[in-house]
């Protein structure tokens, strides 16, 4: 996991593209890379696959960090080029990856919102709903990232995306995220 996270983070912090970008744009792009990295950590925490006794507590904190990273990503891009971000948010962008990112963003906000009201929801509904939104986040983010010519190395980005998909898929199927819906 260190390699899967470390290599793309290192690549994106030493990309030649950075020489031609202002600090706020660099931070915005890096926040996107961090968010993709946190998507790998999240299922491993909730599935108890990382060392430390309190994986679920950490899952909540990392989730909050993920929301913050998305906000920094979008806000930084907005400051860099407002019309491009308005196009993306209104699904009128010429770039095909924008819409995937925006859908993933709203799904992530939704998944985090559900986490905030978990105690007020019926448990048999909560986990399938949270997991369904997370599936949208994971798929949307991976397509968004793969279609972009950005600061991450092509190979390290593809490897990280494959790890994110595999981790989310494996943990969801092992925890049988949909099972409560099947119970009568």
């Amino acid at each position: 996991m260190g390699l899967a996270l470390g290599v793309p983070l290192a690549a994106s912090s030493s990309s030649p593209l950075l020489a031609w970008r202002e600090p706020v744009y660099i931070v915005a792009g890096f926040a996107g890379v961090v968010a993709l990295g946190l998507l790998l950590v999240q299922p491993l925490l909730v599935g108890g696959h990382l060392p430390g006794p309190r994986g679920r507590v950490a899952h909540r904190w990392v989730g909050a960090g993920l929301v913050a990273a998305i906000v920094v990503h979008v806000a930084g891009l907005w400051i860099t080029s407002p019309p491009d971000v308005i196009d993306a948010l209104t699904f009128t962008s010429p770039t095909p990856f924008s819409g995937w990112g925006v859908v993933a963003m709203w799904a992530a906000f939704g998944a985090a919102g559900l986490a905030a009201i978990r105690r007020r929801m019926r448990p048999r509904l909560w986990r399938p709903a949270h997991s369904a939104l997370v599936a949208v986040v994971v798929i949307g983010t991976v397509v968004h990232a793969l279609l972009i010519q950005g600061t991450m190395g092509t190979v390290s980005k593809a490897v990280l995306c494959a790890c994110v998909l595999a981790a989310a898929g494996a943990v969801m199927s092992r925890l049988r995220a949909w099972a409560p819906l099947l119970r009568r």
Partner: protein, 162 residues
């Protein structure tokens, strides 16, 4: 927009049916106008100055400007160009410039190397009717480079008479 286009199509179709001998040859050699691209106008600075070169140069933006229908070359048309380059962001004034087409309707402007920004290596070009008295409709283009390593980009404008 859709209903307008539909009306145009219907009108053209009706005209073609009514006078096929008149309409069909014209349509066969008719050159369709270039539509404005999504995001083409983003970060435009209207009325950017005519320049010999944008910044230090090194990347060549070339293109042609023709009239819709008969494809006649349009000399003296003002084309504005801007992009995220090695010398500045799209919003920076120093990333913007304009040039005029020659007698054959061609233009070429030396500018700094375009680099990928917002996920794609792309340029912006405009024919802005507000800064040109030629009587054609404004068009904003946002062409994407085949590769970020390309040192040139060629762009075709086909303008629709206003």
């Amino acid at each position: 927009m859709i209903s307008l286009r539909r009306r145009t199509v219907l009108a053209t179709g009706a005209a073609a049916l009514a006078a096929p001998a008149l309409i069909l040859p014209a349509r066969a050699e008719g050159l369709a106008p270039t539509p404005t691209m999504r995001g083409g106008a983003n970060n435009c600075r209207p009325g950017a100055p005519l320049v010999d070169r944008i910044g230090g140069g090194g990347f060549l933006m070339t293109g042609s400007v023709r009239r819709a229908g008969d494809g006649a070359p349009l000399p003296g048309r003002r084309i504005q160009i801007w992009a995220h380059t090695t010398e500045g962001h799209e919003r920076d004034a120093r990333s913007h410039g304009a040039t005029l087409t020659d007698a054959e309707g061609h233009f070429a402007l030396d500018m700094p190397q375009i680099v990928p920004a917002f996920g794609q290596p792309h340029g912006h070009l405009a024919y802005d009717a507000d800064y040109d008295d030629g009587g054609f409709r404004t068009v904003f283009l946002r062409p994407i480079m085949g590769s970020a390593r390309d040192r040139t980009l060629d762009v075709a404008f086909v303008l629709e008479p206003a």
